[in-house]
């Protein structure tokens, strides 16, 4: 038995992983989520702002991480739109340009009556330069962004006419998959110019950003779990969101998450049992 596991073809492990993710998804396994204090802080940061506040929606993720960050970004977009904030979409990642578009589609399809392009939201798009872009837009945005993605001069768009730089933002909402991302926005904008900021990041990136909380970063959503908690908080605060199945995307994915986590724990325990058994057998010989 020990030899069987020692020489186990890893494809069986892959198959197991596939099953523990697929089955709960197909069966619709889901669990209630209890928001943590950190998620509540992030929620409050958006919710307590006066209606019509200026929010920079800096979405810096790509297809590789959209599985984890798209539900988070969508939840932020819906929440800000519900509060009728003015949204400025921007990105530092070239592959995130369609991601901005998807969030704008949410505004058009779900909030179209109350939300007009140019008056309530604007898509500034992407500029190359990583943190170099932040360095410029934090003092003079129009030096780098002469027009929006539709080619319209920012001077002619009502909500950007008087926008000099992002220091005029009441909040930066950053969804980030890596570099450039939350760390750079904290270093070059939020921390330096004391602009309030919240961030949603991948599970990989979240631990490294905890030192910034709460002095430089008001709150942090880490991984799909935090996205699910945020969605739950949103639904609890605004029950009308519960009618829209698109608002519980992260909540739906927590079912497979739980089973897969138990699978990983079991694999680690099994691997260690085999290791110590082999070790004792080797010592006995």
């Amino acid at each position: 038995m020990g030899d069987f596991f020692t020489n186990l073809d890893r494809r069986w492990i892959f198959l197991g992983m596939g099953i523990v993710v697929a089955l709960p998804m197909l069966l619709g396994l889901s669990f209630p989520e209890e928001p943590s204090d950190m998620v509540r802080d992030v929620f409050a940061a958006v919710d307590t702002l006066p209606e019509g506040s200026n929010i920079l929606m800096a979405y810096d993720y790509d297809p590789a991480t959209k599985g984890e960050l798209e539900p988070m970004a969508a939840a932020f977009t819906r929440h800000c739109a519900k509060k009728k904030h003015k949204l400025y979409f921007i990105t530092l990642w070239p592959a995130a340009v369609p991601m901005l578009r998807q969030n704008i589609d949410i505004l058009e399809s779900e909030f179209g009556d109350d939300y007009t392009y140019g008056e309530n939201y604007v898509n500034l798009g992407f500029r190359p330069g990583n943190e170099g872009v932040i360095k410029v837009v934090v003092t003079d945005l129009k030096e780098l962004y002469g027009n929006d993605v539709n080619g319209q001069d920012l001077q002619k768009i009502p909500m950007t006419r008087n926008l000099k730089n992002i220091q005029q933002m009441d909040l930066i909402v950053n969804v980030s998959a890596g570099t450039p991302g939350a760390k750079e926005w904290v270093q070059y904008a939020a921390s330096k110019y004391e602009i309030k900021m919240v961030a949603g990041v991948t599970g990989v990136g979240a631990p490294a950003l905890y030192p910034y909380v709460p002095a430089q970063l008001t709150g942090l959503l880490g991984a799909i779990k935090a996205a699910a908690e945020y969605e739950q908080t949103l639904i609890d605060a605004y029950p009308e969101f519960a009618e829209n199945p698109a608002t519980n995307e992260a909540l739906r994915r927590m079912g497979p998450q739980l089973i897969a986590h138990i699978y990983i724990v079991a694999l680690i325990i099994l691997g260690n049992c085999i290791y110590f058994t082999d070790k004792r057998r080797g010592a006995a010989r």
Binding site: L8, R10, I13, F14, G16, G18, V21, F31, P32, S36, D37, M38, D62, P63, A64, K66, G67, P94, A95, V97, P98, R101, R127, P128, G129, N130, G132, V133, K135, V136, T139, D140, E143, L144, N150, G151, Q152, A206, P207, A208, Y210, P211, V213, G222, A223, K225, M254, Q257, L258, A260, H261, I262, Y263, I264, V265, L267, I268, L270, G271, N272
Partner: protein
């Protein structure tokens, strides 16, 4: 000329940007330097693409092992580039309908959008999704509790893995509530030992402390390295003597 001028450029730009942080009249110089930096960054994308093309064309011409796949790479590259540069399927901007080329290059339904949506997005995201399987394999084969440090790492990992899902609440909420009620007459008395609460404590105290120390160390390293580059001590970025 080949090495001295670049060293001077690096030092000049770097110190101008540092000065612009502290001296108001130098702020505009710093902003100009960053705008030029951003333009160069755009050309860096072009350089990257052209370099890829060069490598694969060389591989095809010398017919090295795997050159067939290089043909596919070059074909995908060329098709995407032509579609993107030519703005195939892009309608004019609704604000400027009389200008044929005014539309967004990544407009919904355009050729470039199609390449992104149905070629780049699914393939790139699936590439990274494979990591889930490899992490499972690594968990089985590599994570061994060989010493105290490894045990601490693994126990923390277990707590986080279980605490960050409903399993943490399911395993500990009711038992702790019963215990709290039995021992102290208050079901919330031992709530701080719930796995989800313990995870928050681990992340907010120990993880934060460890990452803070790493961050401080990295910051000092970056400062030292940046000074070495600006003062011309570190010249590795210039490549070999030529």
């Amino acid at each position: 000329m080949k090495r001295t001028v670049p060293l001077c450029i690096a030092a000049l730009v770097g110190f101008v940007l540092i000065l612009s942080e502290f001296i108001p009249f130098a702020q505009s110089w710093g902003r100009t330097a960053m705008i030029w930096f951003d333009i160069l960054a755009a050309f860096a994308f072009v350089l990257g693409g052209a370099n890829l093309l060069k490598i694969h064309l060389l591989k095809i011409s010398s017919q090295r092992v795997g050159w067939g796949y290089s043909v596919i790479t070059v074909a995908a590259f060329t098709i995407t580039m032509v579609i993107g540069l030519g703005k195939f399927g892009v309608t004019p901007s609704e604000s400027f309908p009389q200008f044929t080329w005014s539309g967004d290059y990544l407009q919904d339904g355009s050729g470039f959008w199609w390449m992104y949506q149905y070629v780049y997005l699914p393939l790139a995201s699936t590439m990274f999704a494979l990591l889930a399987f490899y992490i499972a394999s690594a968990a089985f084969r590599a994570f061994r509790a060989k010493n105290t440090e490894a045990i601490i790492l693994l126990v923390t990992a277990f707590i986080v893995l279980l605490g960050r899902t409903y399993a943490g609440i399911w395993l500990t909420a009711d038992p702790l509530a019963w215990l709290g009620q039995t021992l102290y007459g208050d079901p919330q008395a031992l709530a701080m030992f719930r796995l989800d609460v313990v995870v928050e404590m681990i992340m907010g105290v120990f993880n934060m402390a460890g990452n803070r120390a790493i961050m401080i160390g990295i910051a000092l390293g970056i400062v030292a390295l940046s000074l070495k580059v600006l003062l011309g001590v570190d010249r590795s970025y210039l490549g070999s003597e030529e």
